[in-house]
Amino acid sequence: MHYLKQREVQLALLIVLLAVAVGVRAPVFLTAGSLGNLLTDSTLLIMLALAQMFVIITRGIDLSVASNLALSGMMAALLAVKYPELPLLVVMLVAVAIGLLLGLVNGYLIGYLDLPPIVVTLGTMSVYRGLVFVLSGGAWVSSHQMPADFIAFPLSHLFGVTHLVWIAATAIIATWLLARYTRFGRDLYAIGNQPLAARYVGISTARRLFWTYGLSGMMAGLCGYLWVARYAVAYSEIAYGFEFTVIAACVIGGISIAGGAGTVAGAVLGALFLSVINNALPIIKVSPFWQSALTGIVILTAVLINARGNKKAGRQILPLAMLQPSSRSAA
């Protein structure tokens, strides 16, 4: 418990350090406007990482999030264009519902048919991405076609903070409550720890997984609308390859790919960390050709730092009082 806390604190410190270091080179990075923008920019990644966190905790993986996001986002955009008089809330709910549905397809295959998550989501990833193209006929939906409020919503301010940030904050609190204070959330940890044992103690693994992937899909659906509205354009390839960024954020946040362990704070910090990097690179004028290599190095470093904590020493069998002299004599 103590130790885990430390890891998240470490990551938080690292982020602050990084931000300050960037600020030294490019002071503009630390201005309120820039930091606000950074926060806004990180929200989508944070939300997706949170949902992915639950999936990874159950020993799963959801590779279809980015495709799901694109499909729900495109559907939301098409809907808003076709029926501009529709209230925004309805459009958003439709996006969420589509995302949920797509997620539940994963959930059914993984939960009830007991198929391996990586294979299922690899398959649905291609299918969903293809459907974006089919449904949109390959055409763009661009800003002047979308209703004004559709575009304005994500970046409008409420009490000086963008809606995106409010939504992300709500998502963080909701997932935290879910992870910590509901049987649903705790069951996911149990499933990830010992899938067979979870069945033995009467957890209905299939139903839990069904809804976990549903949740992941729902979040992707919501982010789909937000993404499309925020960048004011929808086309077949939006968020292409973003699933790996999301997974990388989770991994950096210390969520164990082996399942059973991971915290909301970790997911949030992991996503923030990547956002800081992504936002800092253009500002400190790193050669664009170095960006991908640097991102790779950063991910590997973060993973290595995490791993050092993971490494198992032997079990503690020797009484601690005896340990001191004997280890000295052994050395």
């Binding site: 490019a26 503009v28 990075f29 406007g33 820039s34 923008n37 920019d41 991405r129 293809g130 193209f133 949109s136 390959g138 055409a139 763009w140 661009s142 800003s143 002047h144 076609q145 970046l155 993404w227 960048y231 004011a232 354009v233 086309y235 077949s236 390839e237 939006i238 968020a239 292409y240 973003f242 992504n278 936002n279 690179l281 253009p282 500002i283 400190i284 004028k285 664009p288 050709f289």
Partner: protein, 309 residues
């Protein structure tokens, strides 16, 4: 009788520019009468994807391939093979290296495109100040040629007060392009204009300028489609942008392909090829031909054209 199959292979499907070119191709086909157009392209803009498509087109024994290439060199082997099997290959928009095609149809000459973009930027910022370029991927051939042309243009004394501070790549992804645009605005407080010779880029840059509340201080220009740019012109982030007419381009390319198939053209230097309503093309020393200078769109005409392409 069986119709003459002409395949139009584009960089990727789901791209408004090429959809418009397809329209032009269909127009040419209708006019020519005996032509069937196969419109195809890979999902993502990769050379490997185009190679797969071309090999299946060879199997289908199409008569001609009209292609906008994702990689000037990588496609040469496969298109060479196609030509050996009697298929006429001509490239348009983004070209194939000379060995791999009979004719390259430039929408306009790269020099003109480069000049045009610098002109628009210069007009917008009053002839002096810092500018930056937001490109697609670092591998995009045509982008790189245009950027090189822009740099050449900037070297002219008329533009001595304009300074290119940075070139960045948004990989044709809206989020990355947006982030790069924000980065440009942040790290270059005196920036006056962003030139984005790619539709995803110009869109993202326009949005970034609006979001950063820099409309009127920083101008975005570049290449884009009227249907996609209308919103940004209205918001004021974009004063003007340019594009050639993709319909005309598709029309001319298809028409030219027909001429090659029927033996009315060979692609020799200096040859003049009739392309229907577009008049005649003249083949230059390196086997290329150009249509017309790019057309500029601003708030006066963008609405009208946004309904067309």
């Amino acid at each position: 009788a069986e119709k003459m199959k002409i395949a139009m292979v584009v960089k990727n499907l789901g791209n408004g520019f090429f959809d418009a070119a397809h329209e032009g191709a269909n127009e040419a086909a209708k006019q020519l009468g005996d032509v069937e157009i196969i419109y195809t392209g890979p999902t993502t803009a990769t050379a490997e994807g185009q190679i797969e498509i071309i090999s299946s087109l060879i199997s289908q024994k199409v008569k001609a391939i009209v292609i906008s290439a994702n990689d000037a060199n990588a496609l040469v082997p496969i298109t060479k093979k196609a030509m050996q099997r009697g298929i006429k290959v001509i490239s348009f928009d983004s070209g194939i290296a000379r060995d791999g095609r009979l004719l390259q149809l430039n929408p306009s000459s790269p020099a003109l495109i480069g000049q045009k973009q610098i002109e628009m930027a210069s007009d917008a910022i009053g002839g002096a100040g810092e500018i930056a370029i937001l490109s697609a991927t670092a591998q995009a051939t045509n982008q790189n040629i245009w950027i090189a042309e822009m740099k050449k243009t900037l070297a002219q004394p008329a533009y001595s007060k304009i300074k290119l501070v940075s070139t960045v790549y948004g990989d044709d992804q809206s989020d990355k392009s947006y982030r790069e645009a924000i980065g440009l605005l942040r790290s270059n407080p005196n920036l006056k204009a962003i030139i984005a010779p790619t539709t995803v880029g110009i869109n993202a840059a326009g949005k970034a300028v609006v979001d950063e509340k820099l409309v009127g201080k920083v101008y975005v220009t570049g290449l884009g489609l009227p249907s996609e740019m209308a919103g940004h012109v209205k918001s004021g982030a974009v004063k003007s942008f340019a594009i050639w007419n993709p319909i005309d381009l598709g029309y001319a390319a298809t028409y030219a392909a027909h001429q090659f198939v029927t033996g009315k053209a060979t692609g020799k230097a200096g040859e003049s090829i009739a392309v229907g309503r577009m008049g005649k093309l003249t083949v230059d020393a390196v086997g290329e031909a150009a249509l017309a200078p790019p057309f500029t769109y601003d708030k006066d005409n963008v609405e009208k054209f946004s309904k067309i392409f």
